[in-house]
């Protein structure tokens, strides 16, 4: 059967046979090019992307530096200690570009080491959100009826819950690490507002002719949802993924700042250490507070800006004429 089809294709078209994946790839490349052109029109989005790339390189540089220039005994972000300096925290010096913390650890090394976990946290949370929100949105829009009502009431419930108080109580009572935190964030955001937005998009996709065509061709419900609806929902959920990333990073930093997580090293924890040793309101030791805080703020702002710029790509009404 397939053989005859293949030969039929090659002969009747009269042209060279192009495999389907290559067609898809070239289509993808084309849409990426046009979307990139739209994205690049917006300088604010480019600045955000630049900051994200910078932090990515920042994270990558840490293992390289640890293996070449930095001695593990002195510069290890969690267990390092500089014995040559008599009093810690010490101000920035050529040896420690951002000084040392009250335990004698290098602040720059901590900052760089934490970056990769912030990225991992943001990305895991965002992927979980995307999967949950897209599935709920698509299923709820496709089936409608009782299932839709049930799922949407659940979403309303999650939407109404005060997020931070619950997270505070839970993480105080349980041992919460980075991975658990990422999954909890992902689930809470996925069952929250993102699902509503994806569902509203799914409702417009559901009534398009190709869905009808797929149904007439005998596609099963799951086939239609995951092969035909979900790919068309991805732009929207990708956009809200960006906003999930910045919220997740901010919440992690806040929980770590309160000292409620079991994470070994993160930006929020660096500020928590500062507070623990009583340097929080002593503004002469600025290097304990500023680097981590500015890192959190800029990375969150960068993801937010990229999200806004992508919003303009996805949502043509926002574009400048």
């Amino acid at each position: 059967m397939t053989d005859t089809l293949e030969t039929a294709r090659t002969t009747t078209a009269g042209a060279r046979y192009v495999p389907l994946w290559r067609v898809r790839l070239s289509l993808l490349a084309k849409s990426l090019r046009t979307n990139w052109a739209l994205f690049a029109e917006n300088p604010i989005g480019l600045i955000g992307l630049g900051v994200i790339v910078f932090f990515g390189l920042f994270a990558l540089a840490h293992p390289i530096l640890m293996n070449t220039v930095w001695e593990a005994r002195v510069y290890h972000p969690v267990s390092g200690h500089d014995l040559e300096i008599p009093f810690h925290p010490s101000p920035p010096s050529p040896r420690h570009l951002l000084g040392t913390d009250p335990l004698g650890r290098d602040v720059l090394s901590q900052l760089m080491y934490s970056t990769r976990f912030e990225f991992a946290l943001g990305i895991i949370a965002a992927v979980v959100t995307m999967v949950v929100a897209t599935t709920i949105g698509a299923v709820s829009a496709y089936y409608g009826g009782v299932l839709d009502a049930l799922l949407m009431r659940l979403v309303d419930l999650v939407q109404m819950i005060p997020l931070l108080p619950i997270l505070i109580v839970l993480s105080a009572l349980m041992n919460v690490g980075m991975l658990e935190l990422a999954i909890v964030f992902g689930l809470l955001f996925g069952f929250g507002g993102t699902a509503i937005i994806v569902k509203s998009q799914a409702l417009t996709v559901k009534v398009r002719p190709y869905i009808e065509a797929a149904r007439i061709a005998g596609g099963s419900d799951w086939h239609i949802i995951f092969k035909h609806m979900v790919p068309n929902l991805l732009p929207v959920s990708l956009l809200y993924m960006m906003f999930t990333v910045n919220t997740a990073i901010a919440y992690e930093a806040i929980l770590s700042f309160f000292g409620l997580t079991t994470i070994q090293m993160s930006w929020g924890l660096m500020i928590n250490t500062t507070q623990f040793f009583g340097y929080l309101l002593r503004f002469d030791t600025w290097w304990l507070l500023f680097p981590a805080s500015i890192a959190i703020t800029t990375l969150c702002a960068a993801f937010y800006l990229v999200g806004r710029a992508m919003d303009e790509v996805v949502n043509p009404r926002l574009r400048r004429r």
Partner: protein
């Protein structure tokens, strides 16, 4: 309207019950219980442990315990705090809820109003350096790491300029003496007097809107100055003004911080929706009719742009409650947010549960208020 309200309140109660069940089960699922915690000392006989379990009701099945907790909650019995031992949780909440309420409500109302006005103006004057400056300030305030921002405010206004105290509810040195009334009584009186003054001011503005143009300005001036003079007169003559001023000066910095934080979201959203609205045909028509710019901006564009911003408020409530907790923590403002954090870290479970539920109710009520406001703003929506 009443039918809708009834339906919403019913829905709220169901949501609250689900929320309570969920939090109770989550907290109850933790390994170990209070009896284990209290009987870590090895010389307490097992008999005593059993007696303690029975006394605290911990030998009952979990579902029964949950039902008892929830029923007791609605009877006003939230258990006893472990931290401040025989003090009931409900007393602690009664003492601290007004402080959180003032912080939360003032900051949100001021932030919404200023965000609405500045967003409107920024969208109207599009382009140029102001737009970039506003967007950058807005995004920075929106995504700033709030504890750090609060610390910067302390550094600027309390440490460098010495204008305001750095935190806490009051300065204990000013409250020494035999005939000083309790701080909470003064705080409650402060809330009521300023509420009355605000209402008077608001009514004055409502009246001024009906008045002729020439009379409008004096009426507005009077409606601001008269309540203000009344407030100053009342607190200046009753001998407690010094103490009230102490509380107010401690209140300014947390409220200001939370306001700026909440302001950015409204401002950015208002600017975006206003830009969309300005492209609508009816704005073009209004301009073509030759209406003054101010009327087109305020009556035709901003009024319609307000609706999505109001919806954004619904999505922002949960984040705003979180922002309140962070602000309270950094400024050591003894509201229920700080209580929640302290109770959670010292495993004071009754207090943590009670405060969590109260915060849940606060969020639900805020949602309801926003939804009712929606009916007044959008004539297409008349619930009922």
């Amino acid at each position: 309207m009443w039918k809708y309200l009834g339906k919403r309140v019913l829905q709220m109660i169901i949501t609250l019950l689900l929320f309570q069940v969920l939090t109770y089960l989550l907290i109850d699922a933790q390994p170990g219980d209070i009896a284990d915690l209290l009987t870590l000392a090895p010389d307490i006989p097992p008999n005593e442990v059993r007696r303690l379990r029975a006394e605290l009701g911990l030998d009952r099945p979990p579902l029964e315990r949950m039902a008892r907790y929830i029923i007791n909650f609605y009877r006003g019995n939230l258990g006893v705090s472990f931290q401040e031992y025989p003090r009931p949780v409900i007393d602690i909440i009664k003492e601290r809820l007004p402080r959180t309420f003032v912080l939360f409500v003032t900051a949100n109302i001021v932030a919404f109003w200023t965000g609405f006005v500045t967003g409107k103006i920024l969208a109207w004057r599009r382009g140029g350096i102001i737009e970039y400056a506003a967007t950058i300030t807005g995004v920075t305030l929106y995504t700033v790491f709030l504890p750090w921002f609060a610390l910067m405010m302390i550094w600027l206004f309390a440490v460098t300029l010495h204008w305001l105290p750095p935190g806490k509810f009051l300065d204990p040195l000013k409250w020494l003496g035999p005939d000083v009334p309790p701080a909470n009584a003064i705080f409650t009186r402060l809330i009521w007097t300023s509420l009355i003054a605000l209402l008077l001011c608001f009514m004055g503005f409502l009246i001024s809107n009906r008045a002729t143009r020439r009379r409008r300005v004096p009426i507005r001036l009077a409606s601001v100055l008269v309540p203000l003079a009344g407030l100053v007169g009342y607190w200046g003559t009753n001998g407690l003004g010094r103490l009230a001023w102490d509380i107010v000066s401690h209140l300014v910095l947390p409220v200001g911080t939370l306001t700026l934080y909440a302001y950015a979201g409204t401002m950015l959203l208002m600017r975006t929706t206003m830009l969309e609205t300005l492209r609508e045909d009816y704005v073009l028509t209004a301009r073509a009719k030759g209406l003054p710019d101010k009327v087109v901006r305020d009556k035709h564009a901003a009024r319609n742009a307000l609706l999505p911003v109001w919806t954004g408020l619904v999505f922002g409530i949960s984040g705003s409650v979180g922002g309140g907790i962070i602000t309270e923590t950094v400024f050591s403002w003894p509201g229920i947010g700080l209580t929640l954090l302290n109770a959670s870290t010292s495993e004071d479970i009754p207090t943590a549960m009670g405060v969590l539920t109260i915060l849940g109710i606060l969020t639900l009520v805020a949602h309801l208020v926003v939804d009712i406001g929606y009916a007044f703003l959008d004539p297409r929506i008349r619930y009922g």
